[in-house]
Symmetry: C2
Subunit: 203 residues, 2 copies
DNA sequence: TGCTTATATCACCGCACAGTGACACTGAGT
DNA sequence: ACTCAGTGTCACTGTGCGGTGATATAAGCA
């Protein structure tokens, strides 16, 4: 058995990820993480100070929503503003759908505050805003609001679908449904922008 | 000290409501409920069988989102379909914003399954669909999807705002912001319908 | 080799939890 | 007055938790 603190730390961090994904955030704790990592729990205290410290390190070092960054890479290439907005939302949904870890973290964030959830929320936001800011796009407020609502809606839809409990029978994990939802998002964005530009903005 | 089992049951059910509202669903348990109700926990087992049974009774007997039904009462009076859809969403948001209990139950529902959360979700859905069905309105699928997304988006926005952790700085508990969000929902619905009727439906 | 320090293990504490069995009280019918 | 079912109280078990001190073991260096 090697005796490297770095390796032990990694084992602990990996165990935390596995545990959150498998058992949900309500199942994490010093004992459970130590058990999963096959490591004495005192090492968690030694290396991370406390459970909170461990979560902090986890937030700092792990990729909390793998694939999200890549999907937002070239999102603004040759597209109109409504298309870009819709793409951001849909890409976000896709990354979230693929990452049970991110889903669980979002639920955690809704339930209680901890270093992990707070940092996670901020990171998600920054990523999307950056995709726009890179192109010098500063959306007006109503556009921002609509995009956020769509983003939140999709997010919630995905979270609800996790325990065989889909919202209004809309199961985003089913490819057909996903297509329909994505199309509605796109056409809604488009319609909203067209109504705005036509000076048809509702009072 | 009166010795009525009905009264004791009520004390326990009330304590559960207080506890969920005050401490969140992670804080509920046989001991905590008994303590809050100032009652021996053995009575919970006697009258409800178990914690699960208590939750079941709670779901059956309590109004889980007070005010929601009233807000949806005359929602279809003299309004166009997009207006109705927007009203459903906004009314739902208003009721949810006012009910910390309902907010907590929604979070609970996202996290784990129990008799309470399952029943709660179904009830919310039925309520909104009923508001439409009463008028013989059967929305087409894309309309339904858009409405649900908006509904989910608003819901998520409200849930996120609870712990001083608003999504993208959109704090629905602030009156001004709430107005803006509601207006965006209304104008989006309108724009979506107009685009549809104009045969301008995006492929 | 022997020494030091980092690393890992073990045993333990106090606490809160879910759940149960035995007992005491109260009140209504006889 | 007596019974008895319903109601409430108490004490207890076993389990898992967060957290800590003492101790063993391996690695690096003189």
């Amino acid at each position: 058995m090697s005796r490297s603190s770095e390796q032990t730390k990694k084992k602990i961090l990996d165990a935390l990820e596995i545990l959150i994904t498998r058992e949900g955030f309500t199942g994490v704790g010093v004992n459970a993480v130590a058990r999963e990592a096959a490591v004495d729990k005192v090492l968690i205290y030694r290396y991370f100070g406390s459970m909170e410290g461990l979560l902090q390190s986890f937030a700092d070092e792990k990729d909390l929503c793998p694939g999200a960054a890549a999907l937002l890479e070239n999102i603004t290439d040759g597209a109109s503003l409504p298309e870009i907005a819709a793409r951001i939302v849909v890409s976000h949904g896709m990354a979230l759908q693929r990452s049970p870890l991110a889903q669980e973290l979002l639920c955690w964030e809704l339930t209680e505050q901890n270093p992990l959830s707070i940092l996670f929320g901020k990171e998600m936001e920054k990523r999307e805003l950056k995709a726009l800011a890179d192109k010098g796009i500063v959306p007006e407020e109503d556009v921002k609001i609509l995009t956020v609502i769509m983003l939140c809606g999709l997010q919630y839809l995905i979270l609800r679908g996790r325990n065989d409990n889909p919202m209004m029978n809309i199961d985003y994990s089913v490819a057909e449904t996903r297509d329909k939802v994505d199309k509605v998002i796109q056409s809604t964005m488009k319609a909203f922008f067209e109504a705005r530009e036509g000076g048809n903005n509702a009072s």
